[in-house]
Each structure stands twice: as C-alpha cells, then as structure tokens.
C-alpha cells in the first residue's frame, strides 16, 4: 500500500499552452511528475522552462493559459503564488527573493510569522529557524542578517523557507547557476536528502552532469514543446542523447548569404580574468583569450550565467566586475579600457543585451539616444549642433528602417525591434572598429531579427570586427565565421564555421571543470 503511494503521480500538467501577445511560449506541454522523484527539466535559454514553472506556481494565474494542472489528484486553479504555496508548491527563482537587511529567521518566516495576536514570538521563531537550518545543513545563527551570507547560503535559506511552508513539491530554477563548485555540490546533496524525506523536486538546469547526478527523470523542452521524457536509469539516456534532443531543430534559412573578407587582427584580448563585483572571491571570467579580425564575425556561445556578458562589459570600460586583469590589444597595440570613454575613444562599442537598463534613455527621444555616445563629435564649444544631430537621426531612421513617425518620439514608446535598432544606430554612429553585440535579437520579432542579421553582415562587410554574443545557436551558426564557446567563465572551445554544429557547441558549452 505504502509502496503504491510512493509511485503515484503528484503532478500532472496537461496540454499547457501559453501565449504572450501573439508569441507562443508554450505549445501543448504535457508533463507528469512522480511522487518523491527529482525531475529535471532541460532546454536551451528561452525554450519555455521558466514559463512552464510560472504557470505551475500561479505567477501566470489560472485562465491566462490553456490546459489542465492536477496536483495530488485534484485540479488546480491557482490565482497567484499564495494559492500554490498553500498547497505545498514552492518555487525558488534564479534571482533570490530574500530581504537583505532582515535576519535569516525573519526571512524564513516572512509573511508567515509565528505570532500571537500580532506579536511575534521570537523565541519560537528562532528555535524553529534553527531546526530548519539544521535540516538544510546551514551552520549559521538564525539572527545573522542575510546580507552577510554568500549566494550559496542564501539559496539554503530559501530552501529552509520552503520547508517552513511544509513544501511537497520544490521547484528550483537554475539553482546552481550562480554557485561555486563546493556550494553546488552541497545543494545537490541537499536535494537528494530532501528526496529521502519524501519531498518531490523539479529542477530546471542545463548542466548535464548535475542532472546525471541527482535526477531520476528528465524532460526536455524545446521551442515551447515537451520533446520527450527520459528515465535517467535507462542506459540509452546519455548526455549526447539529451543534447541532441535539446537542439534538434532545423536551421531556418533566414540568414543572408555573405562572403567574408577577413583582414588584419583588430582586437586581441589576453588572459582576461574578472571577479564578481560583490562576491569578490568568485571568478566570473577565467583567463579568457581571444582575437577578432577586420571583417570577421566572431560568435560567443554560452549558456545563461556562463560569463559572456560579463566578459564583454568588463572589456568595455570595466563596466562589470572587480579585480580585472589581462591585456587588450587594438591592431597589435596595447590599449587602456579602464573607462567607457577610453573604450569608445579606442573604437570599441558595446550594444547591451539589456536595452532598457543599459542601452536607452527611455524618456528621451530617438535622436537624443542615437547621439548620446557621440556628443563630442556633434558639438562645438560645448553646444550641440542640433541640425546635424537631427540629420543623423533621420539618416539612421531610413537606413535602419526604424519605424516611427518622427525621430523625436520617446524610445520608451517603440517596439523591442525598433529600440534595438536605435541602440545599434547609436553605436554604429559612434564610429567603432570593434562592435560587441550582446544578444542583439533578444525579445524581438522575426521580421526585425532578419533586418538585424542584414545589419550585422553589412558591418562586417564594411571591415568592422563584430563580436556576436547570442544564446540562439542557429543565429551563431548562420552568422559567425568563428565561434568561441564559454562555460563557467572559461573559453572551452573555438570552432570554425565549417566545423561548427549545434552538438559540438553544446558539448563545449556544457563542459565543466573536472
């Protein structure tokens, strides 16, 4: 009897379909999770893993998607995260949601305080917290403020918080992405020990070694569809089998033809090492060296948290990280990139992956944004030449096909694709030799994507060195002449266009230090 229950299904999600303003994020996903197992969900960035978990936890409320969720045999209709938590489903996100200035105990019981008529019973709170901390193997006083803990320990506090809510199904979204090896190992052990206590876990990860180590079952999601569910006990379930399933789509023929004309080396970076800005012991970029030549498009492939953006931003005027070491050469001469203006003056441009945060003044007009990195050139005696500025904006509006009634329209009102074109215009107008494009097609529609591919090819044809950071492997394979793969801050592979396949890249991208 007991055994039968142990093998029963705790969760069924059937035919889940979710659209975001016309874009289908999930397309009829069906997934079954057995009671007491560790179920891995695996897929590329943007495949729909996180969306699926948000559907499950009620972040996207019942009714905003199609399909049925059954939890413990009952149909669920969660209208928010409180509903799912009250049923014992707790999700721990990549960005931890702890309040930094409160103590561990306060965080564990936040919103769930042990109280009597509004007065908190601190003795019981701390006692309970101590017990929970022992369960997750965290050796800290419950009165320590969360601020003093590293990311790994914060993650354990999150799990302790989940346990305090009598969790039955624990969902971890990329739990080890920000952790070092030791913390990762501890966390994986903890998940195994929770399993022994009868807690079911869903772990979203693309680290295959991790999945191999703790998961019983893995479901692979690709392009919003559940491709297959494999049992890890099965001898056929190898890493290459999973990789093939993750990437196995056809290359769309949306990449314009181009015959590369590759010239002299323009940028060379040697032994570049960057540490995390807060957790200064953590190495985010580990001794990376690479080169880019004129007219060449060089891709950087890597999974989330691999350190691609950090590498690019640290080179661009030390906009990220601390204890940065290494050297940068431009056309063979060593250059300083200590500040953003140094980098710009040396002909380097960086178009950010996060347009809204780092790329645009959303309450400023298109023209003002395009000129923002080139005001020195556009002014005399400190006075901006607005006539030229306007002309430049008009020129980019037509050459980049920015769809807008006027160049004074605020960039915050533009669509993602048009915003991206403004960011690209801004950096192209700054007259760089080396352009670092970080996820230039993220979150934009297919038409605009195609236009941006054309722009990237034009830049290379004009003799610029282009560094293309992308999470979409087909994009890298379709555009880049050479591709570097990054995993955990290290450049783990370099592949020519001729030899690059999604499988080889994915092998390098998931390569881990042994």
């Amino acid at each position: 009897m007991k055994k039968a229950e142990a093998m029963s299904t705790i969760l069924t999600m059937r035919e889940i379909t979710k659209d975001f303003s016309g874009v289908r994020a999930l397309d009829g996903v069906t997934i079954e999770v057995e009671r007491g197992e560790v179920h891995a969900i695996c897929g590329e960035n943007g495949a729909g893993k996180s969306t699926l978990m948000k559907v499950l936890s009620g972040v996207y409320p019942h009714g905003s998607f199609d399909g049925v969720i059954e939890f413990e045999g009952r149909e669920a209709a969660y209208r928010g995260i409180n509903d799912s938590e009250s049923q014992g489903i707790v999700i721990i996100h990549q960005e931890l949601a702890l309040s930094p200035f409160l103590s561990i105990a306060e965080n564990i019981f936040l919103g769930n305080e042990i109280q009597k008529r509004g007065v908190i019973d601190w003795d019981r709170t701390n006692l309970e917290a101590t017990r929970l901390l022992a369960r997750v193997g965290l050796d800290e006083s419950p009165t320590t403020t969360v601020l003093e803990l590293g990311v790994g320990k914060q993650q354990l506090v999150e799990i302790a918080k989940a346990l305090s809510k009598r969790v039955k199904l624990l969902i971890l979204d990329e739990p080890t992405a920000a952790l070092n090896d030791e913390d990762s190992a501890h966390l994986l052990d903890l998940i195994s020990s929770l399993k022994a206590q009868g807690i079911t876990s869903i772990i979203i990860s693309h680290k295959l070694k991790e999945i191999r180590r703790i998961a019983d079952t893995v479901t692979i999601i690709r392009d919003g569809r559940a491709i297959e569910t494999l049992s890890m006990a099965d001898a056929d379930t190898t890493e290459s089998r999973i990789i093939r399933s993750m990437v196995g789509r056809e290359l769309a023929s949306m990449f314009p033809d181009r015959t590369p004309v590759i010239g002299e080396e323009l940028l060379r970076v040697e032994n570049w090492t960057v540490h995390h800005p807060i957790d200064t012991d953590r190495v985010v970029v580990d001794n990376a060296s690479f080169t880019v030549r004129a007219g060449e498009i060089v891709g950087f492939a890597g999974l989330m948290g691999a350190g691609r953006t950090e590498l690019a931003m640290s080179i661009f005027g030390r906009s990220y990280g601390t204890n940065i070491s290494g050297t940068v050469f431009k056309s063979g001469k060593q250059i300083s990139v200590r500040t953003v203006s140094d980098a710009i003056a040396n002909g380097i441009a960086y178009a950010t992956e996060d347009r809204k945060r780092y790329g645009l003044n959303l309450i400023g007009g298109i023209a003002v944004n395009i000129s923002a990195a080139s005001l020195a050139r556009l002014s005399r005696f400190g006075i901006v030449d607005q006539l030229t500025e306007h002309g430049v904006a008009e020129q980019y509006r037509s050459s980049m096909n920015i769809k807008t009634p006027s160049v004074s329209v605020l960039t915050g009102k533009l669509s993602g694709g048009n915003q991206q074109k403004v960011v690209l215009s801004k950096w192209i107008y700054s007259g760089p030799d080396v352009l670092i494009l970080d996820e230039p097609t993220r979150g934009i529609d297919v038409g605009a994507k195609f236009e941006i591919y054309g722009i990237i090819n034009d830049l290379a044809a004009a003799g610029k060195a282009v560094i293309l950071i992308s999470s979409e492997l087909p994009e890298l394979l379709g555009l880049a002449d050479r591709i570097y793969a990054i995993s955990a801050g290290r450049i783990t592979g370099e592949v020519d266009r001729a030899h690059a396949t999604q499988e080889t890249l994915m092998h390098y991208m998931t390569a881990e230090k042994d």
Binding site: R357, G382, V384
Partner: protein, 398 residues
C-alpha cells in the same frame, strides 16, 4: 481643477504639461486680480512680486537642474544665510568694496557646491543626506559668523542689487505721480520683439527639419499673447520706480540656463543621467563630473540668492533663507519636473515659482493669515503634482 483639465484637450504634443501649468498661472492671476479688486496687478505690487520672489526664481533655476539629474538639494536656504553673512562681514568688517564682496559671495557659494558635489558624486553619498548635513552645517556656520547678531548698514550699491532700479536713462513720460520710466517700456518692447523673433527663427528651423510644427494660427495667438503680456506688465511696472535691477539678472539667468539645458552637451548629459544613469555611463558620459558640476552651479546660484536676499533686506541675519529650499523644490515640481529625474525645464520651474509668488502676494493683499498661506501653498503643491501623476496615468492607459 476642472479649468485645467479642459485646457488639456487641444492637441499639444510634448509640451502639454507646460501649457497646463501656464494656464494654471493665468487662472491664479485672474482669480486674485478679481478677489483683490484689481490690486494684485498695481505697479507697486508687480514690482514687489519680482523683488520678493527673485530668490525663488534664482534657486528654482538651479534646483531644476539638480532634480532633472535625479538629486535634491536641501541646503540652499542655509547657504543663502551663510553667503549673506559672509558678504556682510566682507563689506563691514574687512572693508572690501561691494563688488569684491559679491565676487567673494559667489565663490563661497561655488565652494559649498564643490564640497557637496564631492561627497555626492565621488564618494557616492545620496544627495539627500549630504545636503541635509549641509543644511545643518551651513546654518550653524552662519550663527558662528554672525555670533548671533545681525549686520546692517551695508553700502547702497549693494542693497540696490536686491531692492534697486535701473537709472531712468531716457527720462520719464509725465511728471510726478503717474509718470512712467521710458527705459522700462523700451526694455519691455525689446523683450517682446526678441521673443517673437526667436520663436519665428526656431519655427523656421523646425520647418526646415520637417518637424511637426503647430498650425500658424496657434503659433501666432500664443506668441502674440505672450508678447502682449510682457509689454503690458512692463507698462504697469514702468509707472512705479523703473526696472528692478534684479529683474534683469533673473531674466538673464533664465535665458542662460534654458540655453544650457536645451542646447549644450552638458545639458544633454544632465537629462541623460536623470533619464537612465546606467545607459549614460555606458555611453561614456562622465557621470561623476556632471553631478559634481551640477552642484557647483547650484551652490553658485544659492550664493547669488544669498546676495539678493541680503541686499533686499539691507542686512544679514542668521535666520535668513529659512525654508527657501522648500520653496525652490516646490516650484520645480509644480513646474512639471519628475521626482524620478530625467524630466523638467527651466521655464516650467520659473512658472512654478511664479505661481507660488502670486499666491503669496495675493493672499497677503487679502490679509490672509500667514499660517493659512502656508497651508494653501502646501495644498497647491500637492494638487499640481497629483494633476501631473493622474494625467500621465491617463496617458498611459490609452
């Protein structure tokens, strides 16, 4: 408020809010003109309005730059007092000529700005904290300098900066009571003509750039009305004692800083910092230096306001400049600046300051109790910003 809402209906892209606030000023002026049986716009009262509120106008011009960049300056009232005290000491105890004392005062203001700018821009302490500390620090130093007393008997040339008039260069129309200063009238007509020419020029430029220009009737109605208001006001003032010296200074500052914010690289970068600090940094803007310079400008203008206040009062007192910072901040927000930074204009701040000034003047003429005056001003500030927030929300829903 219904009056304001109806004004929003015509299609006035971008500057919508500016027109709304201008209309509010007009409504308030007309309201008090009626309530005071026409006394609000008597020559002497207009003159006083200008001289009494010069300090808010000067401070608001600096404060709007600070606020656009996403900061705040709570210390300006104390800086006004301290600079006033130093200028008075310079003239009465060090026997410096008045113009040197003015220079010293401006330099002290700039130094105060550099001090605060250093902590804010380079050390990274929030402006709220640094200038709150400055508010206490400089008020304390004022008391030290004045040793609790007051300094009077300042040179007449100095006092004229705050309370004097330009000489009647071209004589007067008429004699004795009711005579008009010709210079004032000439300056008024000149200002109106320059306004029209400048507007025509910028309209022509916009045409050339194929920017959306307003329809010709709207353009002419708006600008001819503005020109007429300028001429009418100066005509009224000319019947008092001539052109207040401070009016010339304030007008110059308004023009200068409107230009700085609209046309210079520095102005551009101020808006860029306030609009998105990170994006500005990632575009190579030296954000720390810009912030530092903003506070130097604010300090210098606070120094000027200190001179003006001391000159008008004819002496330095330790309590001078009390709550001036709040007047300036209120003016800037009434004038449409955003608490989150990135939005605001000098003309907006000026109109905001005038609204507060007219309220002060009108309520005083009506002999409304000072306590009630303050309460009413508080409500006006709240309503103005609420109007802004609500109109934005409605815009967002469309």
């Amino acid at each position: 408020m219904n009056a304001l809402r109806s004004i929003r209906i015509p299609k006035l892209p971008g500057n919508l809010r500016q027109y709304g606030i201008l209309a509010a000023l007009a409504v308030i002026v007309i309201l008090f003109q009626v309530l005071t049986n026409g006394r609000l716009l008597l020559p002497g009262n207009i003159n006083n309005l200008i001289q009494q509120n010069a300090y808010v106008l000067i401070l608001a011009v600096g404060m709007v730059i600070v606020i656009i960049a996403g900061h705040i300056d709570l210390s300006v009232g104390s800086v006004v007092a301290m600079v006033g005290a130093i200028s008075a000491v310079a003239m009465t105890q060090w026997d410096l000529p008045w113009y040197v004392a003015v220079l010293v005062a401006l330099l002290v203001g700039a130094a105060v700005g550099a001090w605060q700018g250093f902590w804010i821009a380079f050390v990274g302490i929030p402006a709220f904290i640094v200038t709150l500390a400055g508010m206490l620090l400089f008020r304390g130093l004022t008391l030290v300098i004045l040793t609790g007393g007051t300094i009077n008997a300042l040179p007449a040339e100095f006092n004229a900066i705050g309370g004097g008039w330009l000489p009647e260069l071209f004589g007067t129309i008429g004699e004795g009571r009711g005579s008009r200063d010709i210079l004032t009238v000439v300056l008024g007509v000149l200002a109106a003509a320059i306004l029209l020419l400048q507007q025509l020029r910028s309209r022509r430029r916009q045409r050339k750039l194929e920017l959306v220009t307003e329809a010709a009737p709207a353009f002419w109605v708006k600008n001819l009305a503005a020109a007429a208001v300028i001429v009418a006001l100066t005509w009224q003032v000319s019947a008092y004692r001539g052109t207040p010296i401070i009016l010339v200074i304030v007008a110059g500052l308004i023009l200068l800083f409107t230009f700085v914010l609209n046309r210079t690289v520095f102005g551009r970068q101020v808006y860029a910092i306030g609009g998105n600090l990170f994006a500005a940094q990632m575009s190579g803007v030296k954000t720390q230096w810009i912030t530092f310079n903003i506070f130097v400008i604010m300090g210098t203008l606070a120094g000027l306001a200190g001179i003006v206040t001391t000159a008008r009062a004819g002496g330095a007192v330790a309590s001078a400049g009390g709550s001036f910072e709040l007047d300036a901040i209120a003016a800037v927000f009434i004038g449409g600046a955003a608490v989150t930074g990135g939005v605001g204009t000098v003309p907006g701040a000026v109109i905001g300051a005038l609204i507060m000034g007219v309220l002060n003047m009108g309520l005083s003429i009506l002999s409304v109790d000072a306590a009630w005056q303050q309460a009413i001003k508080g409500l006006v500030l709240l309503l103005a910003v609420a109007f802004d927030v609500l109109s934005k929300r409605r815009g967002g829903n469309r």
